[in-house]
């Protein structure tokens, strides 16, 4: 009765402590969750688009022959696609996208002959390194103004991937938990419990094996669902093969676990019931007189070493296979080191956290001296293992986090912050065990309630860490996100001018986008001349007068307030190429002010068509803004003496009579050289030149009456 009373009391104290611990841990987890939700978990990507050729928003004079995308991780050829669509949504790419030889991070697709227009590149890439899916879209123009990029589009990352799914997270958590338990079983079985395992080991091993198998299989299914590729295609890819290898590892681990479980045919020495049966009554009362004490000779409880080693090795190798389809497998000169460090990290986590679970299992039942011995052994083992966890974890975090910015700005960094916070809590509890509780127990105190409570708290915290890690491993590393932010697509082309009024009251910073003749968006920032603060204007207008063109009238546009001291308007005031006088009118309190500015339009890209025929010089046909075309070619187009020809044609295809012309040639990294032109026809000019290997640019400006025409083309001489 007394014994029962003591058990109940101890049990109630333990229960209270556990509830308190559980409450605290839950509070921490809830707070962490709230923080993560509040700061958002933006969908990220792993194989992120670093840059592209053509660049996003580029406006090309010449149609590209292919599209090349450069990613942060290697794209998986069979599972990744690039589509290039014209404005009608028709694909214009030729063949399948494939990695560029010698540049595994480059993924390219060939294009057919593209007409002038806007094209959309839509890509969907599965990382060969970690199997994660990313997708994105951008546009470029051929012979037309660059597609307008909105600020929102510029701010969006180049590539999106779905947020971590619940099945994928659960699969990873199960896999981590199962493998951790099995590594912990091997380590504690060999180093803590003396080739035995605590009572209930069969159940725990079964749970571990079930978690491992379920985690491995669910992960395969979740990855397949996410990649959305036929099974055959998936299995043929390196990503699929990595998952298959992981599945094999999982099965082998399950078999090794079964072998270990069958080796537990005899009750373990830590079985309290067996101990009770074999030992005298706890109250010290002797066996009833006249009855011979029933002595059960316990069979040898020790497990075959090879069974423990087999489980440890199998689980360890499966961890390695998991590591090989994760972030650590990403492209890096230190890839082998990264893989090794990550693997060591998982092994150390398995030994420590898995060991804690087994220690907790060993602490079950009534307080016994062998439990104290196990705690002391585990404490000695845990210290170096914890150091290894910290060092390898820190190393991986430094490699992936992307500095302070990555820790604060990326969802990966925020999850890492939570993981580190939980880890510090775990370290605190571990230190409490190591320096307070275990020395007390080793000193002769035989009450294990405090130790059990602490270890239980450690196990709960460790479970939280594994859950965070399950999400973390599906997010793009912070360093990629930071790098991606730095490599955002360039702002759309524009022309910027500025000026101030005579009375030095205000300044205007004017941006015309795209700055080429035609429709433009005008953005004016009006500020105080001295302080630079926003000027309290009530009206801002721009008056445009082309310089040197009295035949073209003046036009005015009223801008509307766009906030933050900026005024914006759209119009076609810049109707022709050249220099414009722009008068900014600022009205507000006091007399209105005028701000004179001078704006030079950006040269609009000229569509150039290149025609090549065997044995013939390459012919460049340039569509001119003023109408008609310019044809140019270099004969013979090889190093040595050459003749460059320029011929102007009117829109009906006849040679365009031209009054005068002047042409230049610019060699690679050289200054423009004036060419001595010889007239060969009404609109046909030629010049004799001497060429060396390299790229040469030719430009010609001609005038017919008041009409100016001009064009340029480049040729590679080899």
């Amino acid at each position: 009765m007394h014994r029962r009373h003591r058990w109940v009391r101890a049990g109630s104290v333990t229960g209270l402590g556990a509830r308190r611990w559980l409450g605290r841990v839950l509070l921490v987890a809830v707070l962490a969750g709230v923080w993560l939700v509040a700061t958002g978990i933006p969908a990220g990507a792993h194989a992120l688009l670093r840059e592209s050729d053509p660049a996003a928003g580029a406006s090309l004079d010449e149609a590209p022959r292919r599209v090349v995308l450069n990613f942060t991780e290697r794209p998986e050829p069979g599972l990744s696609t690039i589509q290039v669509l014209d404005t009608g949504g028709r694909p214009v790419q030729q063949g399948e996208a494939a990695p560029v030889e010698g540049s595994p991070l480059d993924f390219a697709v060939d294009l057919g002959d593209l007409a002038d227009g806007t094209y959309t590149v839509s890509w969907r890439v599965v990382s060969k390194d970690d199997g994660h899916l990313t997708a994105g879209t951008f546009a470029f123009g051929v012979g037309v103004a660059a597609p307008t990029a909105t600020p929102e589009a510029q701010a969006a990352p180049q590539g999106e991937t779905p947020s971590p799914s619940v099945p994928a997270t659960a699969a990873r958590l199960a896999l981590y938990a199962g493998l951790t338990l099995l590594v912990g079983a091997a380590v504690t079985g060999l180093a803590v419990f003396g080739r035995t395992l605590p009572s209930g080991a069969r159940v725990l091993l079964a749970v571990a094996a079930a978690l491992t198998v379920a985690g491995g299989m669910t992960r395969f299914l979740a990855e397949r669902a996410r990649i959305d590729a036929p099974l055959g295609t998936l299995l043929g890819s390196s990503t699929g093969q990595g998952l298959v290898r992981l599945a094999v590892g999982v099965v082998v681990t399950a078999v090794a676990t079964w072998l270990l479980a069958t080796g537990l045919g005899r009750p373990g020495m830590r079985d309290p019931d067996l101990t009770v049966a074999a030992a005298p009554d706890r109250e010290g009362s002797p066996a009833p007189k006249g009855e011979a004490p029933v002595v059960h000779t316990p069979p040898d409880p020790r497990i075959d070493t090879w069974r423990l080693v087999a489980v440890g090795v199998a689980a360890g190798v499966t961890m390695l296979l998991h590591v090989m389809v994760g972030h650590a497998a990403g492209p890096s000169p230190l890839r082998s080191v990264n893989l090794l460090v990550q693997w060591l990290h998982l092994l150390a986590v398995g030994a420590w956290i898995g060991g804690l679970v087994w220690l907790l299992a060993g602490l079950r039942g009534r307080d016994r001296p062998d439990q104290v011995a196990a705690a002391v052994h585990f404490s000695k083992l845990a210290a170096p293992v914890l150091g290894l966890v910290a060092i390898t974890g820190l190393s991986r975090a430094l490699h992936l986090a992307g500095g302070w910015q990555g820790l604060l700005d990326s969802s990966y960094g925020r999850f890492l912050d939570v993981k580190v916070a939980l880890f510090l809590g775990l370290v605190l509890l571990g230190a409490l065990n190591r320096f307070r509780i275990v020395p007390t127990l080793a000193g002769g105190v035989r009450r294990l309630g405090g130790l059990r409570r602490n270890v239980r708290g450690e196990v709960i915290l460790a479970t939280c860490i594994l859950a965070v890690t399950a999400v973390l491993s599906q997010l793009p590393p912070g360093k990629f996100v930071v790098g991606q932010a730095a490599a955002r697509p360039p702002a759309p082309p524009s022309v910027q001018v500025g000026g101030s009024d005579f009375s030095t009251s205000v300044r205007i910073a004017l941006t015309a986008a795209p700055g080429a003749p035609g429709p433009n968006t005008f953005t004016a920032r009006v500020t105080d001349y001295d302080s630079g603060e926003d000027w309290p204007a009530t009206r801002v207008a721009l008056r445009f007068t082309p310089r040197g063109r009295p035949d073209v009238g003046t036009s005015t546009i009223d801008l509307t307030r766009a906030g933050d001291g900026t005024w914006r308007g759209q119009g076609s005031q810049l109707s022709i190429a050249g220099s414009w006088v722009v008068i900014g009118l600022v009205q507000g309190s006091g007399p209105a002010m005028t701000v004179p500015m001078e704006l030079e339009t950006r040269t609009a890209p000229q569509p150039v068509k290149v025609s090549q025929a065997p044995g013939q010089p390459t012919l460049y046909t340039i569509t001119l803004v003023a109408g008609g075309t310019l044809q140019g070619y270099v004969d013979p187009g090889r190093p040595g003496p050459n003749t460059v020809h320029f011929t102007f044609f009117n829109p009906s295809g006849d040679e365009q009579p031209t009054d005068k012309a002047r042409a230049t040639m610019t060699r690679q990294s050289g200054a423009p050289e004036a060419l001595t032109l010889v007239r060969l026809g009404p609109g046909h000019f030629a010049a004799n030149i001497d060429l060396e290997p390299g790229r040469v640019s030719f430009a010609i400006d001609a005038a017919t009456g008041r009409t100016q025409r001009g064009g340029r083309f480049d040729q590679l001489i080899e």
Binding site: F502, T556, I583, L585, G588, G590
Partner: protein
């Protein structure tokens, strides 16, 4: 074609050319009761700093109105106080166009101007506002746009510039004065400290001397 027809066509063509060659007049035409008001600047394009006028041509069924009296116009630009002026006939015996009423002023700032015309026309009370740009007549522009060979600022621009520069000079002088005052104050403090230290030194010397004399005695 007869000679008479050809001559008539030629005269018509000359008249047409002359008509088209007249300077463009950007004025807004507005219907008010039975009257037609053509409103604009008397001289267009209107330049800041150059004498100009509010011009209102009044007609009734195509006939110029010559007896309008008591019409007023309030001119405003930006947030400046409106300037009230009387619209006076700008025609007479052998002078001007009938029905042309003016109020002369010099617009000193470029930008949009609003003319608010009030009064009575043939017993009908009118109160109409017209703004340059949107109501058919040009805004006042900066003369610098057309000045040649050198652009000269308007008096108002020079005045504003002087005010700005004066404010900057005053601010710079105030800063320098403050710095000088700070330096003077600092020098005074140092002098006071020096005097105090000197006085203490003197007192110490006297004390030492007195003590020495006492010991000797």
């Amino acid at each position: 074609m007869t000679r008479r027809t050809a001559s008539g066509a030629a005269v018509l063509a000359v008249l047409l050319v002359l008509l088209l060659a007249l300077p463009a007049s950007a004025h807004g035409e507005h219907k008010v009761a039975n009257y037609t008001l053509v409103v604009g600047f008397g001289t267009e394009p209107a330049y800041a700093g150059v004498t100009n006028s509010v011009q209102v041509k009044i007609s009734n069924n195509g006939l110029p109105v010559t007896d309008a009296k008591g019409l007023k116009v309030a001119v405003t630009t930006g947030d400046a106080e409106p300037r009230q002026m009387a619209l006076e006939p700008y025609f007479g015996e052998g002078f001007g166009d009938l029905g042309d009423y003016r109020a002369f002023f010099i617009p000193t700032a470029p930008g949009a101007y609003t003319f608010k015309i009030t009064g009575t026309l043939g017993g009908t009370k009118i109160s109409e506002s017209y703004t340059s740009g949107k109501d058919g007549f040009d805004e006042v522009t900066d003369p610098a746009e057309v000045q040649y060979p050198a652009a000269e600022p308007t008096g108002q621009q020079v005045t504003t510039r002087l005010e700005r520069e004066t404010a900057r000079i005053n601010a710079a002088l105030a800063t320098q004065r403050q710095a000088a005052e700070d330096e003077v104050a600092s020098a005074r403090r140092m002098a006071a400290i020096g005097l105090a230290v000197g006085a203490l030194g003197l007192l110490a010397a006297i004390a030492v001397g007195v003590l020495a004399l006492r010991r000797r005695s």
